[in-house]
Each structure stands twice: as structure tokens, then as C-alpha cells.
């Protein structure tokens, strides 16, 4: 299962540093754009196959567009959906760069979000300048610890992170179900598993509610911008980031060069978990206001697609996160105004992952868009 270490593998190619050349332009621009277009077209084909008439398909694509960028409210919804995807996607991208395959973002989002909620409803009377950062920090910390379990096991015993993170995902779901029924977490007077509400001082403030109280965009997007800058600095301007990338490209060479591979693995996982935990905190403190089963809503899995689409580059992840946020915001509009199920977007996202991960397929099908492989 040492896929990520094989220099020929796609993930290794994904980790390749960008250099200004035609091949990289193809890799960074043409493949992603084609992947999105083909996935949307196939989405239309699937709608057609399930008996949706052509005018309604047209209406749903219009709704997809209008619902994502067509109005101030739509843009606000896009940004709101993009924030957790980008944060968790940054964490997964960081893992890719260091050769770690972190499937566990979903569990880290859950644990981080739950921790943020617990801090968020405890400590009444704290001023906002302390309470909000404390809640965010709790989310990041618990997410980091949860992910570090997988990193630590990988570093000390060689247990593959794909298996351990999948198991940690499943455990976190059960743990959430259990904890939500604890009397000190469950909302008083409710029999279903639902947490108390986050106190106003721990909520991420809405940014545009002075314009219109329904605009949901909140201060989480500031967090996203900061996280993008931080990850960019970390990867490309710091020593530890260099070590991350070196271990991702060739772990043996990195070890011979004196880098402490075990420490790097644990650190990468912890940072990835912190970012995913922040994504969870962002959701509960900015949008939901409480935790319930499935509050993560698959953000951790969609974030894998975001990281792939963004080619594991912080700026690319931001753009991919915005695109996926737009897709999700648009899909809600599509469901309301065209009556096409929201789940269509899940299909489109999965197709995007497949096409992004299979550049050979894209080159074979759309040979006109690519340079001929010069005797490779």
C-alpha cells in the first residue's frame, strides 16, 4: 500500500512542484477545466437517463448558476459552503504533499466540531475576544490530536494511515452519537441526540447581516484566507515545509538527509487534523450553532476532491473549494426551483475526482487539447 511513494504513481505526480512549462499548464489548467466540464455534461446525461426532461435540465443548470453566483445571497451561500471545504481540503493537500493519504478528514471534522461546540456552550460570560478564539482553538486541537493518532501509529508501527483513518472516521461517528446523549452535552428537554446551542459570544459573527439578515456569510472566510496564506508559507517558505515536501517526494532520501521521518509524519497529520478540526469548528460556530448526528455532512470526503482538484497547492485548493462551494450552493437552488435532487452534485463531484486522478484518460479522450507526448 505504499502507493504514494512510488514515483510513477499519480499521487506522486500530483505532489510535483509546479514549473512554468506547457506540460504543467496542461496539468494545472486544461485537465481541471475539462474534468469539471465533462462531469457537468455527464451530470446532464444522468438527469436525462432518470427521466428529467430537457427544459428542466436547462432550468437546473440555470438554477445551478444563479444559485451560486447570481445574487448577493447566492455568493454569500457559496462562500459559506466553500469555507469548510477549503479548510479541510488544505489539510488533505498538506498530507498529499508529504506523501500521507489522510482519508480521516471526516472524523477530524466531527471531533473538532464537537470540541468547538462544547467549548462554545460552556463558559457563559466570557467576552467574545476570548471565547471565540478558545472555541476555534479547541476545534483545531482536538482535530489535531485525533489525526495525530493515525500519524503516531504510522510512525511507530507502520500501520497504514488509510486503514487507521477510515477506522477513526467510523469510531468518531459512534463517539458523536454517544456523546450527544450525555446529559452535559444534550440540549435540555430533548430526547433526540442534539447538543446545546453555542453561546452568542462564541459564534463566528455574520459579516453582512447589516445589509440583509438572511446573508449567512460569516467571519469563517477570514479564517480561510489566513489558513491559505499559512499553508502556502509553511509549504514553500519554511524549513519544516521543505521537509514535508522532501519526505513526500522521496522518503528514503529525506531520511538519509537527516530529516526525522517519524516526527514529520506526526506533525503533518496533526496539522492536517487541525485544519480539518477548524473546518468543523467553522461549521458549528458559524452556520449550525450546535452539533447533531451527521452535522459534518461529508465535508471530509468532499475535501479529498477539493485537494485533488486544487493539485494540492494552497491557492488551487482555495479555487477548488470555491468551485465546490458554488456547486453545493447552486445545488440547493436547483433542488428548490427545478426539483432535481441535491445528490446529483455528489455524482458530479465523484466524477471530477475520477477525471482529475486519471490524466491519462483525459489525454486519451481529449487528445486535441494536449500536446503530443514526445516519445515519453
Amino acid at each position: 500500500m505504499n502507493e504514494a511513494r512510488n514515483p510513477d504513481s499519480v499521487s506522486a505526480q500530483l505532489l510535483k512542484r509546479a514549473a512554468p512549462a506547457r506540460a504543467d499548464f496542461e496539468d494545472l489548467v486544461i485537465v481541471p477545466v475539462l474534468a469539471v466540464i465533462v462531469a457537468l455534461v455527464l451530470g446532464a446525461v444522468i438527469m436525462l437517463a432518470t427521466g428529467v426532461s430537457l427544459p428542466i435540465i436547462g432550468r437546473s443548470f440555470v438554477a445551478l448558476f444563479v444559485g451560486s453566483v447570481g445574487s448577493l445571497n447566492a455568493i454569500s451561500e457559496t462562500l459559506t459552503s466553500a469555507a469548510p471545504l477549503t479548510l479541510a481540503g488544505l489539510g488533505i493537500a498538506l498530507g498529499f504533499r508529504a506523501g500521507m493519504f489522510n482519508i480521516g478528514a471526516e472524523g477530524q471534522v466531527i471531533m473538532g466540531g464537537l470540541a468547538a461546540v462544547i467549548v462554545g456552550f460552556s463558559f457563559p460570560g466570557l467576552p467574545m475576544v476570548i471565547h471565540l478564539p478558545l472555541a476555534l482553538l479547541a476545534g483545531a486541537l482536538v482535530g489535531a490530536l485525533w489525526a495525530a493518532i493515525a500519524g503516531w501509529l504510522r510512525a511507530t508501527t507502520g500501520a497504514h494511515e488509510v486503514i487507521t483513518t477510515i477506522m477513526l472516521n467510523l469510531i468518531s461517528v459512534k463517539l458523536l452519537d454517544y456523546l450527544l446523549r450525555m446529559p452535559w452535552i444534550q440540549r435540555p428537554g430533548r430526547a433526540d441526540p442534539i447538543s446545546k446551542s453555542v453561546l452568542p459570544n462564541a459564534e463566528l459573527p455574520r459579516l453582512l447581516d447589516w445589509l440583509d439578515p438572511t446573508l449567512r456569510v460569516h467571519a469563517g472566510i477570514v479564517l480561510v484566507v489566513l489558513a491559505v496564506l499559512f499553508v502556502w508559507w509553511l509549504l514553500f517558505r519554511s524549513t519544516i515545509g521543505f521537509e514535508f515536501r522532501a519526505s513526500g517526494l522521496n522518503p528514503d532520501a529525506a531520511r538519509y538527509a537527516g530529516m526525522r521521518s517519524g516526527l514529520i509524519i506526526v506533525l503533518v497529520m496533526a496539522l492536517a487534523g487541525a485544519l480539518a478540526g477548524l473546518a468543523g469548528a467553522n461549521q458549528v460556530l458559524g452556520v449550525l450553532g450546535r452539533a447533531s448526528p451527521n452535522f459534518s455532512g461529508g465535508v471530509g470526503f468532499d475535501a479529498i476532491a477539493v485537494a485533488l482538484l486544487g493539485r494540492s497547492h494552497p491557492v488551487g485548493v482555495l479555487l477548488a473549494g470555491l468551485l465546490f462551494g458554488a456547486l453545493q450552493a447552486g445545488a440547493r437552488q436547483m433542488q428548490v426551483s427545478a426539483g432535481v435532487s441535491l445528490d446529483l452534485i455528489a455524482i458530479i463531484q465523484a466524477l471530477i475526482i475520477i477525471f482529475m486522478a486519471a490524466p491519462i484518460l483525459m489525454r486519451a479522450v481529449f487528445s486535441f487539447a494536449f500536446q503530443k507526448p514526445a516519445g515519453r
Binding site: A4, I354, I360
Partner: protein, 422 residues
């Protein structure tokens, strides 16, 4: 000692690791003994009575009545003996086996503790164990078939879900048998897709698996909310009835547990047998394993690596499709969104537990099935242990196993690596 040897020779290192492992197992067994004594033996009074027969069975069996506290004391003593045995010379040979027996033994006082003063149907629970093990065993079998040719199969979950969905829809249209055949074919199609992605287009195997899972989840959820909610008759498949094996099904206890099931249970057992024979006793099975261990060498000997990977991963998909059909055609008859609910990942864990062997995967699936049915029964018995923790147990056990506490499970050597023909 005049010369300090800082690098112990390989056998010495192995011996040291094994001794250390034996000691760890010894401490674990002792801890288990103490736990059983203090939790299951000390506070318990009363008898646990297990019902062995269903009302209306051919042979009526008396209830099995166990005095809870004395029984738990006996088990604690046996566990303590096993534990102490690990610290005596010559222990390492038997440590793994004794640990396994110890774990199984430790479950029984848990049952008597939970049942003390009440009664519950042991036969019913064992029967449920077998039934619930079916999709996990078939998922594990799918994992074995594809990982033996070095293709990591994260997509088992998606293949199960695809099988469940197809079984429900085609089963509603054409009847159970048609639905089952279609589910197997669709499972095989997703196996073929996985093979095409990872073999021909050299997509990262884990990414391909995750993508297929998301794709199947999206497709089935979309069609189910877009179409099936409006056409209910498309989601109302007949359920396969239990087939009693003549004579054998009338045996007390064993009959209901093993021989009163529908075709999914028998099918799973037969498929595990066939897969074992195929992998370990036929020439093509040998070729498949060679491709998984050393594709370059296999290629040099004239084996078509790509073709073998295609065939085996497609077969894996078909096994998973059959297992997926269990959720609808073998159980409830209707499809619900994401109804496999992580069973495919447990199948993956069962494959690791079973050390990449079909029979091992089946055994591991039985353990998971037992945990699953126990969780259901505990809700009835109202024990203080939260059901969620019991549900977590298989996942935690998997992490412990993968972390290599109990014996190293070795995957096929080339597992996960794409093969690029020179």
C-alpha cells in the same frame, strides 16, 4: 564480554520481538482476568439462562442455566493461568492461540453477566451472527480477491451499495433471481471500472476506490430520491425465503444456527470455499498470487499481469455485488440511501484480520457479525454498556491489529503498487 555487538543478528532480533510480544500478551491476559473477576464476577448474583430452542422446534431443548458469578470466577482463573503461562519458558509458541482462546472465553462471562437473573435466546443470537456476517464476509472476500493481485480495494463499500441498489430495483421488476443476477453483474461492472482506472489509466488505487464509493453513493442516493420516491413499486423487491436443509435443519441448536438460512448464507460459504480452492489449489490462482507478490517476475514468466488484475478485480466486484444484494433481497426488500453504512470498510478490516485469506476473512466476519448481533441483544437486556462502544469495538480492534500488536499480518508484497510494463 569482550566484544560489544550493537547489531543483533536477524534471528536474535526476531526472537527478541517475539519474546516481547509474548510478554505483552501475558500482561493483556492477566489484565483481562482481573477485569473479568472484578466486573463480571464480583458484583453479579443470580443465574443466567440461555434459551437454546425456539418454540415449535422438532427437538425441545432445556434452557442452559449458568450460575453467573461462579462461572465468571472460573473464566477469570483460566485467563490468569493463560497469562502466567506466557511468562514461563517455551510460551511463545502458543501465545497467539492462547490469546485468541482467551478473548473468546472472556466474551462468555460478559454474556452471563449481562443475562444474570434474566433469560435470552442464545440460538437466536448465533443465528443473527451468521446472517449479519454475510455482507462482511463477502466484502472481505472481494478484498482478498483484489488485494491478492495487488489492487487495493477501498471500493468494496461502493460495490456493496451498488449491489444492494440493483438488487432492489431489478428485483422489483424481474423477481428475486433476476435481481440477484443483476446485482452480481453491476458489482462486477464496478470491479471492471476499478480495474480499468487503476490498471489501464494508472489512477492512484486509493483515490480510485474513494471516488467509486462517492460515485455509487451519489448515484444511488440521486436515483433513489429522484425516481424511487415517485415510483414506489420499483423499490419493493421480494425477499429470498429461508431454505431449510432437510434433516440437518432439525438438529437442535446447530440446525437453526447453520441450516435454516436463505441462499445468501449458503452462497457466501460456497463462494469462500471456491475462492480458497481457486487461490491456493489451481494454476490460475497461483498466477494471481504471483502477480500480487512479484508482478515483474510473473511478467517475465509470460503471465499477462494486466489481464489477471482485470479478471480478479472484476470477480471481486461480483462477490461484493452478491454481498450487496443481501441488504435488499436477503433482508428487507427495499433500498434506503447509504444502507450499507460502512459494512464495506468492515469487510476490508475482516480481510486484514483474516490475513488476506478467504477463510480467515470469513472467520473475522463472524466475529464482527457476533459483535453486531450482540449489540442488538444488549439493547434488549438493558446493560449499562452503551451500544455505541460495542459498535466501535471492531474498528478499535482493527486499528490494534493493523498496528501490529498481535502478530504481523503481511499483505501481498506488491499490494497497492501499479505495474508499468517495460
Amino acid at each position: 564480554m569482550a566484544v560489544t555487538d550493537t547489531s543483533p543478528s536477524a534471528p536474535a532480533a526476531i526472537g527478541f520481538a517475539r519474546r516481547r510480544q509474548t510478554l505483552i500478551i501475558g500482561w493483556l491476559l492477566l489484565a483481562l482476568a482481573v477485569f473479568v473477576a472484578f466486573v463480571f464476577a464480583l458484583p453479579v448474583t443470580g443465574d443466567a439462562s440461555f434459551r437454546l430452542a425456539f418454540p415449535g422446534d422438532a427437538f425441545s431443548m432445556p434452557n442452559l442455566v449458568v450460575p453467573a458469578a461462579p462461572y465468571a470466577w472460573v473464566v477469570a482463573a483460566v485467563l490468569a493461568f493463560f497469562g502466567v503461562r506466557q511468562f514461563l519458558p517455551g510460551a511463545s509458541r502458543w501465545s497467539g492461540l492462547l490469546f485468541g482462546i482467551g478473548l473468546l472465553l472472556a466474551v462468555t462471562p460478559f454474556l452471563t453477566w449481562a443475562t444474570a437473573g434474566k433469560s435470552f435466546s442464545l440460538t437466536g443470537m448465533l443465528q443473527a451472527t451468521i446472517v449479519r456476517a454475510v455482507p462482511i464476509a463477502l466484502g472481505g472476500l472481494a478484498g482478498v480477491l483484489s488485494e491478492r493481485v495487488a489492487v487495493v480495494n477501498i471500493a468494496i463499500e461502493g460495490m456493496l451499495l451498488a449491489g444492494a441498489f440493483t438488487g432492489a430495483v431489478v428485483g422489483s421488476l424481474l423477481g428475486g433471481t433476476g435481481g440477484l443476477v443483476a446485482a452480481v453483474l453491476v458489482g462486477g461492472a464496478f470491479g471492471l471500472l476499478l480495474a480499468a482506472l487503476v490498471v489501464t489509466y494508472r489512477v492512484d488505487q486509493i483515490i480510485a476506490g474513494v471516488a467509486i464509493n462517492l460515485l455509487v453513493l451519489g448515484l444511488t442516493s440521486y436515483v433513489s430520491s429522484q425516481v424511487l420516491t415517485h415510483y414506489r413499486e420499483l423499490n419493493n423487491a421480494p425477499v429470498f425465503k429461508a431454505v431449510n436443509i432437510p434433516f440437518l435443519s432439525d438438529l437442535p441448536v446447530i440446525g437453526p444456527v447453520l441450516f435454516q438460512h436463505n441462499i445468501f448464507v449458503y452462497g457466501a460459504l460456497i463462494m469462500v470455499a471456491i475462492a480458497t480452492y481457486y487461490l491456493f489449489h489451481t494454476a490460475s490462482g497461483l498466477r494471481a498470487r504471483a502477480v500480487g507478490e512479484h508482478p515483474e517476475a510473473a511478467d517475465t514468466l509470460g503471465i499477462n499481469v494486466y489481464r489477471i488484475r482485470y479478471i480478479n478485480v472484476t470477480l471481486a466486484g461480483m462477490a461484493a455485488g452478491f454481498g450487496g444484494a443481501w441488504f435488499t433481497l436477503g433482508s428487507v426488500g427495499r433500498f434506503d440511501e447509504n444502507m450499507t453504512n460502512g459494512r464495506g470498510y468492515i469487510g476490508l478490516a475482516a480481510m486484514i484480520f483474516g490475513r488476506w485469506h478467504p477463510v480467515g476473512a470469513l472467520m473475522a466476519a463472524l466475529v464482527f457479525g457476533f459483535a453486531d448481533s450482540l449489540q442488538q441483544k444488549l439493547a434488549i437486556l438493558r446493560t449499562p454498556i452503551p451500544a455505541e462502544f460495542l459498535a466501535m469495538a471492531p474498528y478499535i480492534a482493527t486499528i490494534v491489529l493493523v498496528a501490529g500488536l498481535i502478530g504481523r499480518a503481511r499483505p501481498p508484497a506488491a499490494d497497492g503498487k501499479p505495474y508499468v510494463k517495460e
